[in-house]
C-alpha cells in the first residue's frame, strides 16, 4: 500500500475489524515475589499501531518483554499471530520469531559489528542467502530508514537518532509481521523524535505491519497511535482510540496526558514519620 492510497484513521475505524495479531488474556507477571502485571487482557488487530503508555513503574516494559517472549507469564496466555507462545518450543518458536522484529530502547546493536553486519546478522544466521543478496538487503533496509551510506560505520560512531534507525533496519530485515518498539523517542530531541514517528507510520503503510510501541512520550503517542493502552500500577486503565483517550474524563489519564504529578499532599507530621522510617 503506497503513502498516497493509505486510508485515514476515520476510514480505518469504519472498516470491518481485521483479525487479531496479538491476544493477551489474563496475564499476570512477577519479578521474584513482586507482582508487576495484574490480569492484563488486550487484543491488537493486524495492521494496527498500538501505543502502550504509562508512568514509570506502570509495567509497560514488563508487558513488552512478555509480548516478545523474553519473559514467561506467571499466569495467562499470549497469542502472537494465533500461536500461544507459552506452548511453542524449538523450531515452532524460531519460525514465529522470524515474523517478529524488535527495536530496543538503546538500539542493542552488537558493538563488535558494523551497522551493515548488524543488519545482515539475522539473514546470515536464519536464512540461506549468499553474501551479495545479504548486502543488497542490508542496503535496502538502510535506505528505508534513511541511513544509506552509513553501513560501514560502527555503532559507537552513530548519533542517538541514527542508532535507533539502524536498530529499526535490523528489526525489519526479515520483513516481520509484528514490529515492537521500546521507547523509540527516549533521549532524542523533538525533531529527530518526530522523524522517527514518521518512519514508524511509513513502515506500517509500506510493509503492512502490526506495530506495538511502548512509550511515555505523549506527543509521539498521539501522533502515531490507532489505539492507546494506558497502564497504571500493572493494570490496564483504558484501551481506546486517540480521540477517546484525549477526551477521557478519567483524572489519571488526563494527568498522564498533561504530565501532571499525582503526588498527594502530605502533612508535615506524616512527612517526618516517612523520613524516620516509621510510616
Amino acid at each position: 500500500m503506497s503513502l498516497e492510497t493509505a486510508p485515514s484513521r476515520a476510514a480505518i475505524a469504519e472498516m470491518p475489524a481485521p483479525p487479531p495479531a496479538i491476544e493477551v488474556e489474563h496475564l499476570d507477571a512477577h519479578y521474584g515475589p513482586r507482582q508487576i502485571l495484574f490480569d492484563v487482557s488486550l487484543t491488537i488487530r493486524q495492521g494496527e499501531i498500538m501505543v502502550i503508555m504509562g508512568g514509570s513503574g506502570s509495567g509497560k516494559s514488563t508487558l513488552l518483554r512478555h509480548l516478545i517472549g523474553l519473559e514467561r507469564p506467571t499466569a495467562g496466555t499470549i497469542r502472537l499471530l494465533g500461536h500461544d507462545i507459552g506452548r511453542l518450543g524449538g523450531t515452532a518458536m524460531l519460525n514465529l520469531r522470524r515474523k517478529i522484529g524488535v527495536a530496543f530502547q538503546g538500539g542493542a546493536l552488537f558493538s563488535s559489528m558494523s551497522v551493515s553486519e548488524n543488519i545482515k546478522l539475522p539473514l546470515r544466521e536464519l536464512a540461506k542467502l549468499n553474501e551479495k543478496t545479504m548486502d543488497i538487503m542490508a542496503r535496502l533496509k538502510l535506505e528505508v530508514v534513511n541511513l544509506a551510506g552509513f553501513g560501514h560505520l560502527m555503532p559507537s560512531e552513530l548519533s542517538g537518532g541514527m542508532l535507533k534507525r539502524a536498530a529499526v533496519a535490523r528489526a525489519i530485515v526479515m520483513d516481520p509481521k509484528l514490529l515492537f518498539f521500546d521507547e523509540p523517542s527516549a533521549g532524542l530531541d523533538p525533531v529527530v523524535s518526530s522523524a522517527l514517528d514518521d518512519l514508524i507510520l511509513r513502515l506500517r503503510e509500506a510493509m503492512d505491519m502490526t506495530i506495538v510501541v511502548v512509550t511515555h512520550e505523549v506527543e509521539s503517542a498521539l501522533k502515531i497511535a490507532d489505539r492507546i493502552t494506558i497502564l497504571d500500577k500493572g493494570r490496564i486503565l483504558t484501551v481506546d482510540t486517540v480521540a477517546g483517550v484525549r477526551h477521557s474524563p478519567d483524572e489519571h489519564i488526563q494527568n498522564l496526558l498533561n504530565r501532571r504529578s499525582e503526588e498527594q499532599e502530605m502533612d508535615a507530621a506524616a512527612y517526618l514519620r516517612r523520613l524516620s522510617g516509621e510510616a
Binding site: G69, L94, R97, V102, F104, Q105, A108, F110, E125
Partner: protein, 259 residues
Amino acid sequence: MVENIGRGAVRSLDEIGYAAALLIESLYWVAVGHRLRQPVRAGAVIVQMMQIGVHALPIATLLSATIGIMLAIQSLYSLGLFGAESFAHIGIALSVTREFSPLIMGILIAGRSGSSLSARLSTMSISQEVDALRVIGINPVRFLVAPALIGMVIMVPALTMWSNLVALGASGLYVAGALQISLAAYFDGVIEVLATNDLMHGLGKSALFAVLIALIGVVNGSLVRGGAEGVGSATTKSVVQSISAIVITDMVFAFIATR
C-alpha cells in the same frame, strides 16, 4: 550470619547448576547445530582462538621462559647442597610439564581471556544485546558461549604445550651455561626422563582449566546486575573464582592422577 551463609551456599549451588546446564547446552549445539541449520560457526571459533591463544603468545612466551629459568636457578641451588646438580633436568622436566606450564597458562588465560569473556557478556547483557539475539531467534549459548568454550579447550592446552617447549628451552640454556654442558646433552636427559603420560597429565589438566575458565566467565557475565559497576564486579569475580578453581582442581587432579 547463618542466613547469609545459607543464601551464599544456595546461590553458589545455583551458579554451579547453571554452569553445568551451559556446558551441556554448548555440547548439544556443537553436536546437533548443523542438523538444525544453526551451526556453531567455525569463524566465531577461530576469532576466539586468535584472541585466547595467538594474541597471548608474547606474554605466554615471556612467562614460560621466566618460569623455566627460575626453576633452573632453584634446582641448581637445592641440588647443589648435596652435589647433585647434574640431576637438575629431572626435576625441571617433570615439574614444567606436569605442573608449572598448565598452572601458569591457566592463571594467565583466566586473567586475560576469562575476564574479557565475562566483561563482554556482562556488557552485552546490560545493553540488551543478549535480549536482541534471543528475539532475533539466535540462541545466545550457540552464538556466544560455544565458540568461546571450544576456543578455550583448544588453545589453553596448545599454549601449555608451547609453554613446555619455551620453559624447557630457557631452563636448558641456563643449566647448560651453569654446568658447562651442551644444550643437546641437556635435552637428551629431558627426553629420557619424560614419558607421554607426563605430557598428557599436564595437557589434560589444562583442558579442564579451560572449561572452568570459560564457564566461570560466562556465568558471571550473564548473571550481571547493575551498570558499569556490575561489569567491573562480574569481571573481578570471574578472575578470582577462575584462579581459585584452577588451583583447587590442580591439587585434586594431581592427587587422583598419582594414586
